[in-house]
């Protein structure tokens, strides 16, 4: 079976004013449909950088990136935007909900982004389904400032899910939440993998990492396997 994602020898070098600094080097990683992977690592080890390469925010300087077997290592920004919209769902530590929009509008944002246009009714149905999946459908009309952190993060996850992405990328999604609420958010993400979504979770929390199929660790830009999955 073709993996969702296959990284081979991926590297990222930062070329700032001073010396070029290697942030990631020789990263190999595979992700299959329905599989979940946790990435651990010290602060500054390059976790977010790796996620931003996988999510096509940026392109790698070395190595190869295959998405469904297609090489997208040097893809142009226009196509990257289309793929971000169609293939990926993103969840961040801070929820990044827009304060002036309701929960519904925040979720609909992923649909009203210039990548295709659905009729208002169909859009609404999809938004409500996504909110329902994460258990906050009753808060659809609320604006973010009136929601709790856990509720906000769940709305953000609904925004990530509304396009039915094949890959979910989460960068410390529980970082701003208490343990219990965090566990709830991990539940929601986990449920998505049961529907065939691939999940990459960056976290500092071993308890959350242990619920993933595999655990990887980044040591100063080098990716090592900490616990292999059952199937690998």
């Amino acid at each position: 079976m073709t993996p969702l994602i296959q990284l081979t020898g991926v590297g990222k070098t930062l070329k700032g004013q001073g010396e070029p600094r290697s942030i990631l080097s020789g990263v190999d990683m595979t992700l299959h449909a329905g599989e979940s992977v946790a990435i651990l690592g010290r602060s500054g080890s390059g976790k977010s950088t790796l996620l931003s390469l996988i999510g096509l925010f940026d392109r790698p300087d070395d190595g190869q990136y295959l998405l469904h077997g297609n090489d997208i290592s040097r893809i142009a920004e226009r196509r990257a935007a289309r793929l971000r919209s169609a293939e990926f769902g993103f969840v961040f530590q801070r929820f990044f909900l827009l304060k002036h929009l309701t929960a519904m509008q925040n979720v609909a944002m992923a649909l009203v982004n210039g990548q295709g246009w659905a009729a208002r009714r169909r859009r609404r149905a999809r938004v409500m389904a996504a909110l329902d999946q994460v258990g906050v459908a009753h808060l659809a009309k609320q604006r973010p400032p009136r929601l709790s952190g856990g509720e906000q993060q769940r709305v953000a996850i609904a925004r990530a899910l509304v396009r039915e992405p094949r890959i979910l990328l989460a960068d410390e999604p529980t970082g701003a939440l208490d343990t219990e609420t965090g566990a709830l958010v991990i539940d929601v993400l986990h449920a998505a993998t049961e529907r065939g979504c691939g999940l990459v979770l960056v976290t500092h929390d071993h308890a959350h990492a242990n619920r993933m199929g595999r655990v990887l660790r980044l040591n100063d830009g080098v990716l090592v396997t900490e616990r292999a999955g059952v199937s690998v």
Partner: protein, 429 residues
Amino acid sequence: MALSGRFRSALVIGLQGIRARKLRTFLSMISLFLGVLAVIVVQTSSVLANRELLTDIELSEGKDGTVVISMPPNEQTAPVVLDALRGRADAVGVVETNAIIGEPGVTPINPGAMPLKYADQGGGATKMICDNNMCYPEPSTEAPPPRGQAIEVRLVALTGDIRPFRPFPTVSGSWLDFTGAASFAPRLVLNNEAADAFTRYRLPAEMRMDSARAHSTPQVIGTIHDGQAQPTVYMRLDELVNWIPASTLGTSSGLTVLRTQSAGAVEQYLQAKLSPTSPFFPRTVDSRERIGGQLDMMRWIFYGMAALVLLIGIAGILNVGLATVGERVEEFALRRAVGTPRLLLAGIVLAETLIIGLLTAATAIGTGVVGLQLGSRLFGGNHPSLQNVGFPWEAGVAGVAAGLVAGILGGLLPAIRAARIPIATVMRA
């Protein structure tokens, strides 16, 4: 399909942004409002001024395209012209002379047919003598007759209806009727100035002319507006020749023929008859072009000033736009993360400023329409040209264009900034 989806997305998101920042939107609108209003005011006044000047010139010189020909001054001229143009609608002969209407044996109150507002200033009772170029006091040794109830008028005698060339609006009564036989009591149509004089000085109806066979008793049949400051009366040329021999008319006073573009044959006929050796020098009226040139200079100065005010407004939009983009860095990074293309992101920012620009234009145009109506109602009494003026469509177009330009110029830089925000911002915030 994809394009309309993007367009709608930009519009939806732009409107959301505007609704979320009503106060800012309002502030940028205020800064832009004066600029757009300035453009509208300049355009309106330029159109109205042009229109009014053109109307005045049409009354005094003729509509554009009218061919004006001065006839040679000789004894045959008046009889030949009268004969050739009788009953024609495409050419009209015009003789101008002076006449005195009122009490016999006195000096008119406005010697030389000067405008009546100067009538009482003319010191003494010197008789003025006017030729084609100027008026000057008569170098007379004997004392002139005393001033009395009489005015001097410019007398314009016509072979036919002049209004196809110079569209005089009728103020009251009727215009000259050129059908039917000439009457011995000459029928007169007055311009406003002459009509004023008649009501103000209650003149007895007797008319004197130099070289007239006898004094005549005219009947006034109507009043028209001809845009002239001099008191002027219009009459049929064939009625005038009952009093002044046609052979002297053509020599002492100027005789002019106005014709349409297509009536060249008449000119050729007159040329052959009156001046077979030396050619006529016809002149075609082209006021629109000439006035355009004269007004252009002024117009561009005012446009320049309006553009300056507009520029301040644009700076206002730009300022607010840049601040807003700075504040929305995370929003734009997030939008890019969920797949919004950079171009659309720039489009969203531009859509917001364009909507602001157009809203402002609409407000300014509304203000212009209301202002013009108010002004017309307040000042229409003193300035007839301000009565019933409609808001010129050109000013509307200029306002919308100013709004669009402001929206584009004010939004361009913020749009470029927005499109350049790196997506990874969302991970480092």
